[in-house]
Symmetry: C2
Subunit: 200 residues, 2 copies
């Protein structure tokens, strides 16, 4: 039995790479939604960070599923939370320096949400959470890190890429690596396999 | 302060890639030791799987450190254990099919050992352990998996590459991703940073 092609409602190159590495037949389509507006609206309702990630993943999946009603569509979102505060990606080096300075020596959470649509309806959802602790970083170190890694780190919230040199910023990482990269692969593959969408 | 160059006493391309991705200045040198003979000798002494990994990592580090007495040398080994039994890499497709059949539906451990030498003496060691559970695999699925992935999987003990399609074989993975890939990166980087071997 052939695998059902998956449509990834995301422009994230690492998510696409993770799925391709796992041998999943997948194409990517960017789902353009106004994430900042949704986040702000949800923040005003005191939504929890994990619920914000779930809502954004759902919105992206639904948008692409509307255009591909017969398809299998995966929406994804990742939220970085410091306590109940949700952070957005840094847009300038100054913001990145500020974010790294605030994360330095502290613990934060990454919530990675997945929502799967089939036949234009949500059929499965999952939220994975990881807990990361940054070691205390000096100002000079942060500046040198950004000199070496900007603008690449601007694509990641928190201004670090843990799959590259960013791993050196951490003293402790608890949680699934795929969740940290923004796509909890294992529960997704289990579900796809269970439902016969991929060979098993 | 410049990073101290690290000599990786291993021919494993993924270990080299992990260190390079993390921005570590590293070169690789294969440490040729008779692993099979060491494993067999240790098995006869009822050595625990984690101790076998530690001993092999130490032997590799020492061999390269003897040739580079002033250097910073990292020895690594990974052992796959089913209970107290240690497995070796499959040499033929038939052996790989047999290994996957035995791992199917069961839990096994991966022990990844690191031993660091400096000035020809061991200065640090670490063993990370991960617990992996494979879902029940049919014979047809195993054969199709090997058709697609042999001989690449022959380089990994257990005949799967979890960083590729092999992730689809698993129902549960507990433990650090870097430990599963054979190089527990986080404790290594913490130590290198603490001792000033890499910038921090």
């Amino acid at each position: 039995m052939a695998d059902t092609p998956l449509i990834l409602a995301s422009s994230s190159s690492i998510r696409l790479e993770l799925l391709k590495n796992a041998g999943v037949s997948v194409t990517a389509v960017a789902a353009r939604i106004d994430e900042a507006a949704v986040r702000m609206a949800l923040a005003q309702e005191d939504a929890k960070p994990r619920d914000v990630a779930d809502t954004l993943a759902e919105l992206k999946a639904r948008k692409i599923a509307d255009r591909n009603p017969a398809g299998l569509v995966l929406g994804c979102d990742q939220v970085l939370a410091v306590g109940d505060d949700i952070w957005s990606k840094a847009e300038t080096v100054d913001e990145a320096r500020d974010q790294l300075g605030k994360l330095s020596g502290c613990m934060h959470h990454l919530h990675s949400a997945l929502v799967l649509y089939h036949d234009a309806r949500p059929i499965w959802r999952h939220i994975g959470t990881a807990k990361l602790t940054m070691r205390p970083l000096g100002e000079g170190y942060i500046q040198a890190y950004l000199n070496r890694n900007w603008p690449e780190v601007s694509y990641s919230v928190g201004a670090y890429q843990i799959e590259r040199e960013g791993i050196r910023l951490f003293s402790a990482v608890e949680g699934d690596y795929f969740t940290i990269l923004g796509l909890p692969l294992l529960p997704l593959l289990s579900y796809l396999s269970l439902r016969g969408f991929i060979e098993s």
